[in-house]
Amino acid sequence: MRFSALLASALLAALTFAPAARAAEVEITQKDKAFSQETVDLKVGDSIKFLNEDDVTHNIYSKSEPKEFEVAKQDPGTSEVVTFDKAGEVKVRCAIHPKMKLTVNVTE
């Protein structure tokens, strides 16, 4: 009886203090001078892991207000994670290959 009460309390405590849902990480690859998708929807705090699976260097960046960033001179076979901490539309381009376009829609 005392043990079950203890267990119940422990479970209740665990549930009450459960951490918020973990932020998601989406993988987007660059291959054949294109992004693997043209748009992606994220929640504030989510990240994108940009993988360069191409055989050329890429240089992705954004000048959009919600998230200005640059993954400079990204070599083939490397990856970098970018976290989106503000809501809004983020236009991602490759400076070298202007045909590569990605729109990231970040919501609360």
Binding site: K33, V56, T57, E70, A72, P98, K99
Partner: protein, 348 residues
């Protein structure tokens, strides 16, 4: 000698002979990096497109292209009355002007070479520094530029509108909106430019299966182009350009796209040109600083400037003299025998 000693000696001798033997004769086992290219896989990447793409908001029509051609060859579009688009983007010189740097209003030398208009229907952004986002937009740029045709847009509207012969051309090209307007002028010129496509070259006949179309030297050059020399990293596809921007280490102080895109990688970066009919388009580079295809190959091999903005795809190539010859032989197979362009009779 005892039997044991004899046995030991025999084993040692055999071992020695085995180790001393030369490698087996016959084709040497290639390391993975030396594997011969699968040529059919490479060739498939260079097939010509079936048709010319036109944008939805500016579809092709015969009359629109005809109006565009007329405007393209009309020197009354310039303040001096002496320069048309064709003056610099001249069909006689691969749609360039055969000079290191262009010449503009008042015969003043410009700071960059005249780029070709060949095969631009497949590109998305234009000019050496990519500042024009469409052919329609680009067409109006040099007309208004002080150093080039030096013609104010509203003044140009007055001139064209006063030429009676242009009225029916605009009416047939734009039946829904027959105005003499900057928008219609840009659309007409862009439509004509999209029709300028380089024809079938010996290289294309080889791609389609004619093994006699190009020399063995050129075929070797094609493999080098795609492999050791890494040209295809940027000069890819049937028009030999992916439209990308790179600093390729030319010593000029011009920062190119760096003026418009404020990123380290874009300093000294210029647009990758297509290579069709390239041996008709000397001299080469944004500043015409390389006089021959041989000089271009030498530049990429070892003569580029090392700096922070240098493209990650530019590295010393260590080409042999024979390999350099093969690359140039290959580049010469990209030239088509295009029919001469007829010059329009201009309206009065």
């Amino acid at each position: 000698m005892t039997n044991k000693k004899l046995l030991k000696l025999t084993v040692s001798a055999c071992l020695f002979m085995f180790l001393a033997m030369p490698a087996a004769t016959g084709p040497a086992a290639a390391a993975d990096g030396d594997k011969p290219a699968d040529i059919s896989v490479l060739k498939a990447k260079y097939k010509r497109p079936e048709s010319v793409p036109y944008p939805k908001d500016n579809p092709y029509s015969v009359k629109k292209a005809e109006l565009g051609k007329t405007l393209y060859f009309d020197p009354r579009m310039s303040a001096s009355g002496t320069q048309s688009c064709a003056t610099c983007h001249n069909p006689s010189f691969g749609w360039e002007d055969g000079m290191a740097l262009g010449v503009g209003h008042g015969h003043k030398r410009l700071s960059r070479a005249t780029p070709t208009i060949l095969n631009l229907a497949w590109d998305e952004i234009f000019m050496w520094d990519g500042r024009a986002e469409s052919l329609e937009e680009q067409a109006l740029g040099p007309i208004q530029a002080e150093g080039e045709m030096n013609m104010a847009m509203d003044h140009l509207m007055g001139i064209i509108a006063s030429i009676d012969g242009y009225k029916p051309l605009f009416a047939e090209a734009f039946p829904d909106d027959p105005q003499v307007s900057p928008d219609n002028i840009g659309k007409a010129i862009a439509t004509y430019e999209r029709t300028i496509v380089s024809g079938e070259a010996p290289f294309d006949r080889w791609i389609n299966g004619d093994e006699k179309a190009i020399s063995q030297e050129a075929k070797n050059g094609f493999v080098l182009f795609n492999e050791k020399a890494n040209c295809a990293a940027c000069h890819s596809g049937w028009n030999f350009s992916d439209g990308s921007f790179h600093d390729i280490g030319l010593p000029s102080t011009d920062i190119g796209r760096g003026k418009h895109v404020d990123l380290p990688a874009m300093q000294h970066a210029f647009k990758t040109v297509g290579l069709r009919n390239i041996d008709q388009r000397a001299p080469y580079m944004h500043d015409g600083s390389l006089a021959s295809l041989e000089a271009v190959v030498d530049h990429y091999d070892s003569k580029f400037v090392q700096r922070e903005s240098l493209s990650g795809d530019i590295k010393p190539l260590n080409l042999t003299e024979q390999e350099k010859k093969e690359l140039v032989a290959f580049l010469r197979t990209l030239t088509s025998q295009d029919p001469p362009v007829t010059i329009p009779v201009l309206p009065r």
